[in-house]
């Protein structure tokens, strides 16, 4: 079989209809970010149908946040007007990146089936959900029916074991995995992570699950454990209906193992997230910009380590260091803990929580031939600006170290 927890979640949501290899399933929650939600609004109006359950959607204005062109202003406006008219209770304007807001809110718990109109919806798998992205037309179908058609995927178990060195973050772990599998190496598969020693922080789990899609994965989930439980208790003030059956071991088609203690900080070379090398192999590469942010690299732990490295130091002359906290909540925490102050003193520039530079949407666009080290998830050609620019992906630690050096730098040399 090899269906994992993912297969179990699909089975529990199946409504009994089947066609070909696809099962019809009930969906628990939908994430609707501004551009891809806007794309389905006119068709939704034409269909003359309503959202199946208004309480089970989160609408975010986070891509065009705030809008930088008239057209984007009108797209954001259409989304805001629709959400207001339809009285959608969970709608968030400029409060942060959708994938962070989705896990900050009280909606998701282990075992939920979640869809989003954005490929990085896989992020929420860190909470033990089956979370995956789809295109706007698929999302429209779910929005009015509460259902979708899923093909149960083959599932790969990935054991993460050993002591986590202080210089290794979630980004290094997922880049290691993508480097091993190659781009598309997990096509259509579900990845299930087992943190064997309970050492991986939730923020790092989000970074890992966020990027399973870069390997072609349908979804990635962390087997719920004490880290998950602690996160939910802190978030909700309680943790009800915790299933103890997570200990029962489902079957997998394949097993992989990553020994955390032997990992080196990783860098993905242009133009593929799977082109991962050890930082030593690219050390010294001159860059012009460092971006620390996005739905995979702008969380509190990312800002904490950025601040720790930058403390009482200065960003190298000529380097533009851009920081985007993933949400307003994280931003406020980072202010309270003085991370923001430290970053500013070192010469960093703080942008408001939004998608911004990661997708080449606004602020921090790269010019011709420029090179940027980024903690985001994709280094595809032209993603952050000019088609001749180059993006290197790395952890916030490696990014902060590189901002200080003005070139790609091993964080172990400054820690």
């Amino acid at each position: 079989m090899g269906k994992g927890y993912t297969g179990e979640i699909i089975q529990r949501h199946a409504d009994g209809k089947r066609e070909g290899e696809y099962l019809s399933v009930n969906v628990d929650f939908i994430l609707l970010p501004d551009p891809t939600f806007a794309l389905l609004l006119s068709e939704m109006k034409e269909l003359g149908r309503k959202i199946w359950d208004k309480n089970r959607v989160l609408v975010t204005v986070d891509h065009f946040a705030p809008p930088s062109t008239i057209e984007r202003a009108n797209i954001a406006k259409a989304v805001i007007s629709f959400s207001t008219e339809e009285e959608i209770p969970n709608h968030s304007i400029y409060q942060g990146i959708c994938h962070q807001l989705l896990v900050e809110g009280p909606w998701l718990k282990p075992g939920k089936l979640v869809l989003g109109a954005d490929s990085h919806t896989t992020t929420a798998g860190a909470l033990g959900c089956l979370a995956t992205g789809m295109g706007s037309t698929d999302i429209l179908y779910t929005l009015v029916t509460g259902k979708t058609w899923l093909r149960p995927p083959d599932t790969v178990r990935i054991n993460l074991k050993g002591k986590l060195p202080p210089y290794i973050m979630g980004k290094d772990i997922i880049l290691e995995l993508l480097g091993r599998s190659g781009e598309g190496g997990f096509l259509y598969q579900a990845l299930e992570f087992y943190d064997m020693d309970g050492v991986i922080f939730m923020d790092d789990r989000f970074a890992i699950c966020n990027m399973v899609v870069e390997g072609g994965g349908k979804n990635g989930l962390f087997r719920p454990d004490k880290v998950t439980r602690r996160y939910l208790e802190k978030r909700d003030g309680h943790c009800d209906n915790w299933r103890d059956s997570f200990d029962e071991e489902p079957s997998y088609i394949k097993r992989m193992e990553i020994d955390l203690s032997s990992l080196h900080p990783k860098v993905a070379l242009p133009h593929s997230p799977a082109q991962a090398v050890d930082v030593d192999d690219i050390k010294g590469e001159v860059i012009q910009q460092v971006f620390i942010g996005s739905c995979t690299g702008g969380r509190l732990r990312d800002l904490e380590w950025t601040a720790r490295l930058l403390r009482k130091r200065k960003v190298a002359p000529g380097i533009r260091l851009l920081i985007t906290p993933a949400s307003q909540k994280i931003y406020q925490e980072a202010i309270k803990k003085r991370y923001i102050q430290t970053i500013l003193e070192a010469g960093g520039v703080i942008l408001n929580p939004s998608c911004g530079p990661c997708g080449g949407i606004d602020k921090g666009i790269l010019g011709a031939e420029e090179k940027c080290l980024s903690t985001s998830n994709r280094n595809f050609q032209g993603r952050m600006g000019d088609p001749s620019s180059k993006i290197y992906l790395a952890s916030p630690l490696t990014a902060a170290a590189s901002a200080l050096a003005g070139r790609i730098m091993d964080p172990r040399e400054v820690m």
Partner: protein, 171 residues
């Protein structure tokens, strides 16, 4: 709408791991069809395919390698293909969101590992949906993987939205 028995088209040949950021650069994200089309032309130029030369009414078939359409879920890339006159994509393998979006918008997404190395940009190809093969300019035929019966229903309806209307009428 419905699913035609046969389709002919001129080939746009692409490589492996063609992502949606290059296929349709994000600055061209728009609700305006003309702007979306400009994005596709820009993407095709970046990929070295001379899209400007092609007339939409000829019918275009993209022939690509592995993991076609990886990356973002932005459906503008698929909408661009559709409004430009692309009838379908034959690839060695597809990225899952892109595969679904092609089908959802009524475009064929066919898996075939044998033809990408054998075609050139501008070649004409013939697809027999009914019999499950692709015929190249030299008349050689190669089978594509059978279309799943669920996906076939969506394609026969003309896409997921017409399928949704039909599903509702049947209730």
């Amino acid at each position: 709408m419905g699913l035609p028995k046969r389709i002919t088209g001129r080939v746009w040949k692409l490589g492996d791991h063609i992502n949606t950021d290059i296929l349709h650069p994000s600055p061209y994200f728009s609700l305006n069809e003309a702007r979306v089309n400009e994005g596709l032309v820009e993407g095709m130029e970046r990929l070295g395919t001379d899209a400007k030369k092609d007339s939409p009414d000829e019918g275009i078939i993209i022939v690509a390698g592995e993991n076609f359409g990886c990356g973002s879920s932005r459906e503008t890339s698929v909408r661009g293909l559709r409004s430009f006159g692309v009838r379908g994509v034959v690839a060695k393998s597809f990225s899952r969101i892109f595969f679904r979006s092609l089908t959802n918008l009524g475009l064929l997404a066919l898996e075939c590992r044998d033809i990408q190395e054998r075609v050139k940009d501008g070649n004409s190809v013939l697809l027999s949906i009914e019999e499950g093969w692709i015929e190249l300019a030299d008349k050689r035929r190669f089978p594509f993987s059978p279309i799943d019966s669920h996906m076939k229903k969506i394609l026969e309806a003309g896409g997921l939205i017409p399928y949704l209307r039909r599903e509702r009428d049947e209730r």
